[in-house]
């Protein structure tokens, strides 16, 4: 037994812990600050206790943003090769948008020469894109707080994304610093046509398929101050965004070409008091809400009610007019100009 070596091992153990903590602390203090958007969900880690699992917008990288080697990975269909690619280190190139939030520009295998980027690891790959984790997907907190946060995501803060502040080191390592709920939330209710066809008396539980034909989109002010929203006629403050995780760019929103953006006017601006909500009805059978199946040659835009594809998936996105468009209108200063996506939904299956 050599006590000096034993002491050295003990010191080494402490140094390992010190390096772990010191590296993170250094990045927190000197790293590039970024804000990322997430939507939270549950679980518990047996070693580290309760935590909230964070699903960042940049965690799902669509095929169009995969560059260099990562673009070639999308063509891999053999599951063994896909397995080998799992956990490969990748770099997400980011830029900060006009709203101060980090947006994904590209995913590549090598770090870019400059600019903010996150170091991540591949979770899964398919033809539509790559799922990546950045090592900041767990927000550890006391069990009660974790349960409270999960509950808030479903009730008190339903439809509101979480804004997570991170600091990024030179090698792309991100450290989660803080989080906050965004002040505005968007929830949707799907409507289907009434059941008209009689059910099979032998199988009364079986319903005829009834794809959705309308939405109720509700905007919630979760902040403690007044907020203004813009409600343009016929739901034109919203747009349909394909859920690339499910069907890549197969279905695209195809409003008529001559449908210009209406100019916001005073009556369109609605002030929401703290805790107030505003519901907007959207008729999906109208041409401005039709979608195009790009996989079908010579296809024409159709209503969501006519889509029978179970993988078709979209998000409704509240897309308020730019600040210069509403300048001079009453309460324009209360308008939050950040786009706000809803949870994904499928015309056949409902909300994910």
């Amino acid at each position: 037994m050599n006590l000096k070596i034993a002491a050295a091992v003990a010191v080494l153990q402490v140094l390992v812990l010190g390096y772990m903590a010191g590296q993170r602390e250094w990045i927190m203090r000197t790293g590039t600050p970024l804000t990322l958007r997430t939507a939270p969900v549950d679980p518990t880690d047996p070693m580290r206790g309760a935590y909230v699992r964070l699903n960042y917008e940049i965690s799902t990288v669509p095929a169009a943003l995969c560059q260099e080697e990562t673009a070639q990975w999308l063509a891999v269909t053999d599951y063994r090769q896909q397995r080998r690619l799992r956990d490969r280190v990748v770099y997400a190139v980011l830029k900060t948008n006009a709203h101060g939030q980090a947006e994904l520009v590209a995913l590549q295998e090598m770090p870019p020469p400059e600019g903010p980027y996150l170091r991540g690891r591949v979770v899964s790959i398919d033809a539509n894109g790559i799922r990546v984790r950045y090592g900041i997907e767990a927000l550890f907190m006391a069990r009660e707080a974790a349960i409270r946060t999960e509950g808030q995501a479903l009730t008190e803060k339903a439809g509101a994304p979480m804004a997570v502040s991170v600091a990024v080191g030179r090698d792309g390592t991100a450290v989660l610093k803080d989080y906050a709920w965004e002040p505005l939330g968007l929830t949707i209710t799907l409507h289907r046509p009434p059941e008209t066809e009689p059910r099979d008396p032998n199988r009364p539980w079986m319903q005829a398929q009834r794809p959705i034909n309308a939405f109720t989109a509700t905007l919630h002010n979760y902040s403690d101050r007044d907020l203004a929203i813009v409600d343009l006629p016929r739901g034109r403050s919203f747009r349909l965004v394909p859920n690339r995780l499910m069907n890549a760019d197969r279905y695209t929103w195809a409003p008529p070409h001559d449908m210009g953006a209406p100019t916001p006017e005073s009556p369109h601006i609605i002030v929401l008091k703290p805790g107030a909500t505003h519901a907007i009805q959207i008729d999906l059978t109208q041409p401005e809400w039709w979608v195009l199946d790009t996989a079908q040659p010579d296809a024409q835009p159709v209503s969501l009610a006519e889509i029978r594809d179970w993988t078709a998936s979209f998000r409704l996105e509240y897309d308020p007019p730019a600040a210069e468009t509403v300048r001079g209108l009453p309460h324009a200063d209360l308008i939050r100009h950040v786009p706000l996506p809803s949870r994904a939904f499928s015309p056949m299956q409902g909300i994910d």
């Binding site: 002491a7 003990a10 772990m20 767990a138 550890f140 006391a142 989660l176």
Partner: protein
């Protein structure tokens, strides 16, 4: 000695007689305080796990640097007091060993706590890897079996997490056990650590090779590993190496692996599939093949060396049935390499006969040498073979009945023969 003191106190013996009695026995050497070591080590592990769970509660009330100070302070305090006691004499080094184990457990807790504080959600098996390296380094530094056992468990957890959760088996996990744990077990003459290391190696080896090359590669590699252990056991018995228990542990794991493989091959439904390397390719068949053939070569080299000593130079004695082991290995690798399908009946019959031969030899040898263990093991093996054939070989009830009558007859004859030999050699019957 205490008994003599009592006799003296009760005037059963005089002082002189008591002294003379004491002189007949050697003065007791300072015994290893196993009770202290075992319970203190168990306590260290449980306390460490408790600390992990306590930290996992993630008290909001404790600020970040408070938590960090707690974990750093706990690791330093445990190691410092442990090293202090290790430098002393008597029973205290044992307690020191337990405290360093506690320090290692707290170090592991610290890894998860720091991850919790900074919301680190990276490749989590790395946590087990760094923890195991810390434990293994400490085990070598203070030659501590308890730290070695913890390191073994952590290496196995690391390797299993990489294989199962990330489909990325780590050769380094097997090498860590082979190069880090087994030599320590040997040096410490610790059968417990050797058993843990071998069990971990066998598990990780099967798991990894199955991932790399599929089930058949995992099967043949496990068989080759078992055959290698049996050669090592025989070599250890011959050379002694001052570690008598080591041979027993090696033989146990070697026979276990070999007999399980041979038993599976005695089922003709499974025989073809288990030796078909072309079936079920894994992620890296070339590595799986290299691993299997590497073990095959080392195993055969070991047995060739034994053959030279036993058959050519006649320096040592190797039981006849043991030679079936390398023969079975060559047979299996040969069939697998030739890629022969449709040989399932030949393979199954071969292994049935092989198992029956081993069982018969163990029973006969056990009776001849009045060794209860060999006799029972041979009987059990024979029973397993007969019961296995109950389902797939003996179609009719008449054949099954006959098989049981013969088995019962064999046991009866064995009992009588064993009794006779024991009586002749003067042993208890």
């Amino acid at each position: 000695m205490a008994e003599i003191d009592r006799w003296q106190a009760e005037d059963l013996v005089s002082v002189e007689q008591a002294d003379r009695l004491r002189q007949r026995y050697a003065a007791p050497t300072a015994a290893v305080p196993w009770g202290l070591l075992v319970f203190a080590s168990a306590g260290a592990i449980v306390v460490g796990l408790g600390v992990i769970l306590l930290f996992a509660y993630n008290w909001d009330a404790i600020p970040k640097f408070g938590k960090l100070a707690l974990v750093f302070g706990a690791v330093v305090a445990a190691h410092a007091s442990g090293l202090r006691l290790l430098a002393r004499d008597g029973w205290q080094p044992r307690l020191g060993e337990a405290l360093t184990l506690l320090g290692t457990m707290l170090y592991g807790a610290g890894i998860w706590l720091v991850a919790q504080i900074y919301h680190i959600d990276e490749h989590y098996p790395n946590g087990f890897l760094f923890w195991s390296l810390g434990a293994l380094a400490m085990a070598w530094a203070i030659r501590a079996t308890a730290n070695g056992l913890v390191a073994t468990a952590l290496v196995v957890i690391w390797g299993a997490c990489e294989s199962i959760d990330f489909h990325s088996p780590r050769l380094a996990a097997i090498l860590l056990l082979a190069g880090g744990v087994l030599p320590l077990a040997w040096r410490q003459r610790s059968t417990l650590l050797l058993a843990a290391g071998l069990a971990g190696m066998q598990f990780l080896l099967a798991l990894s090779v199955i991932h790399w090359g599929g089930g058949p590669h995992g099967f043949t590699a496990s068989l080759a590993f078992g055959v290698l252990l049996l050669a090592a056991a025989r070599l250890t018995t011959v050379h002694r190496f001052g570690f008598a228990g080591g041979a027993g542990v090696l033989a146990f794991f070697g026979w276990a692996a070999f007999l399980v493989c041979a038993y599976l091959l005695s089922f003709h439904e499974a025989a073809d599939d288990l030796l078909d390397w072309s079936r079920d390719h894994g992620s890296n068949p070339a590595l799986a093949a290299a691993f299997g053939w590497g073990l095959f070569a080392v195993s055969l080299a070991g047995w060739a060396w034994l053959a030279r000593r036993a058959l050519v130079r006649r320096e040592i004695v190797v039981p006849r049935e043991d030679w079936l082991v390398p023969i079975a290995l060559v047979y299996c690798f040969g069939v697998a390499a030739l890629g022969g399908r449709g040989w399932e009946l030949l393979i199954a019959w071969s292994f049935n006969l092989m198992l029956l031969g081993i069982a018969a030899m163990w029973m006969w040898r056990g009776c001849r040498a009045s060794q209860f263990q060999s006799t029972v093991l041979g009987s059990l093996l024979l029973s397993f073979v007969v019961f296995a054939r109950y389902f797939d070989l003996f179609d009719s009830l008449a054949a099954r009945g006959l098989a049981f009558i013969i088995l019962g007859g064999v046991f009866f004859a064995e009992a009588m023969y064993y009794r006779k030999i024991r009586r002749n050699t003067g042993g208890e019957v």
